[in-house]
Amino acid sequence: MAALNQPLADLAADLTGPAAARRPSGLRASQRRRLNAFRYVAFIVFGLFFLLPLFAMVRFSFEGAKPGTWSVAAWTQIVSYPGPPPLLSSIEITLELAAISSAVMLLLVVPTMIWIRLRVQWFSKVMEFICLLPLTIPAIVLVVGLAPIYNKIERYNVSALMLFWAYVILALPYAYRALAAGLAAVDAKTLSEAARGLGARWPTVMFRVIVPNMWQAILNSLLLTVALVLGEFTVAYLLSYVNLQTNLFEISRSSENAGVLFSASAATLLFAFALLLILSYVGRRLRRGRP
């Protein structure tokens, strides 16, 4: 119940603290009390709904051969599960895919965005439309059209790493929104004019003047892309490639209760969560570094 202390303290502060003084809520005391009761209940109910499956997954990953016993077998199996293919290799491929997709996405989108902002402003509407298109053309549909294209690609390279071509597209809507917000916060025009006035050429302007001011947005979009790749299943599955999620899927088909399913999933979640935390700390450090 210790976990409830903070929310309880929070609610108490809501009712009586300086926040209450700041905020003329338009609600009288009795109304406020009723509202807080509702909020309390809502947070508990929803909190349970969201936490229980996650908790169950983690708990199950520590389940031993006989119910009620504990074991870390599921976790060690992450690296030792034979397959074929071995789970470890799928993990490697997925991580590499995450890295490649992020890099390609940034290289493709960031310079283009800056260029458009500085030189071809009207095109930004077109770019926005294209980048948000994958929201409307979901992966399951896109993969149907990608199949013939990937047939051609397979003639040159059969590695699952070729998935990055598609992953960049899938990541576009989320990454673009993060980057667009970051770029909007930079006064690109003024900065570039100042730099060019001092004699800088375009590459310098882009990479030494503007990009450094977009670090947080770039990290943000990077994280979104990595999270997407780590969890991607549909495209890999339907193009008959092996990545982490398809591998786990195949395992679940043959043995539904394999502990490694839960440990690997939990590990992926924890990894993504850790990245999120790191991002928020780095972001704060960067912000503090500015005047």
Partner: protein, 288 residues
């Protein structure tokens, strides 16, 4: 697909007698890439939807969508999407209200927004595994409930796992936009809490709510991994039918059935997303 065609052959030729539009060059890599891997596949899908088994053009693929299994997949998709989006919207709106009516700087708000951000993206096979661990008939830690395998209500509950956070994220700004003064003015003019919501609160939130529900609908429509991992024996929804037509070795009546299915999905999602954008614009009209 002319954009893709011209950019694939190389840099744009300069117009004779005029200063070449050099700035254009900067957009070429992006256009080329998205042209090949986004616009081209979309075009292929739509193009092939109208192609016959032996070449030539036909509506057979489209009309074939109305037969037995496939139609039940469309109906199944509609059922699942309507249920998960409506339930997700209502519950998500309640959660959003609970978050919005608290301390704007408080921990709870930040926690729930961060969690919603993560959970809204949390789908795929991992979600299926998590529910398996929680309530699976053979392995569930918490309780056993085979009801969750029922279509569509059981799986709709699982879909709510990402629908509710998505709704919370999308709808929260709308609730934040309800100014305190409106509530106080309504009260001052003699309105009760119910009258405030009926005459002021609900009408103001309606466009945003409907828009968000549509977004949830499109989101559910596109989901594939979770339901595939949860139960894959039967094709309940269109994505699963597409999967079958792509992977299955068993001969299909129409070679391009998968494309027709995908094209059908495009139409559905485009309609829904257009509705969403229109309603967003309408809701924004009143926010200054």
């Amino acid at each position: 697909m002319t954009a893709a065609a011209s950019t694939k052959t190389g840099a744009r030729p300069a117009r004779a007698g005029r200063r070449p539009p050099v700035a254009w060059v900067g957009t070429v890599p992006f256009l080329a890439y998205t042209g090949v891997f986004l616009l081209l596949p979309t075009g292929i899908v739509i193009w092939n939807a109208f192609k016959g088994n032996t070449g030539g053009w036909t509506f057979a693929n489209i009309t074939g969508l109305n037969t037995g299994l496939v139609r039940s997949a469309f109906v199944g998709s509609l059922e699942l999407c309507v249920i998960s989006s409506v339930v997700g919207a209502i519950l998500g709106a309640i959660l959003a209200y609970a978050v919005a009516s608290g301390d704007p700087d408080g921990l709870i708000r930040r926690l729930y927004i961060a969690a919603s951000g993560v959970l809204a993206q949390f789908g795929g096979v991992t979600l299926a595994f998590a529910f398996l661990a929680a309530i699976g008939p053979t392995s569930g830690i918490l309780f056993h409930a085979s009801w969750f395998y029922d279509f569509p209500w059981g799986i709709a509950v699982i879909y709510c796992y990402f629908q509710i956070p998505l709704m919370t994220l999308v709808f929260l700004p709308a609730i934040d936009g309800l100014r305190i003064q409106w509530r106080e003015a309504a009260e001052n003019l003699g309105g009760s809490t119910w009258q405030y919501w009926r005459h002021v609160g609900a009408p103001l939130l309606a466009p945003a709510f409907l828009g968000a529900t549509l977004l949830l609908f499109a989101n559910a429509l596109s989901a594939f991994a979770t339901i595939e991992a949860w139960e894959d024996q039967i094709s309940y929804v269109v994505p699963q039918s597409i999967s079958t037509s792509l992977i299955s070795e068993v001969g299909l009546a129409n070679v391009h059935e998968g494309d027709a299915l995908a094209a059908g999905m495009i139409v559905m999602v485009v309609i829904v997303m257009s509705g969403y954008f229109l309603l967003q614009r309408r809701a924004a009209r009143w926010q200054r």
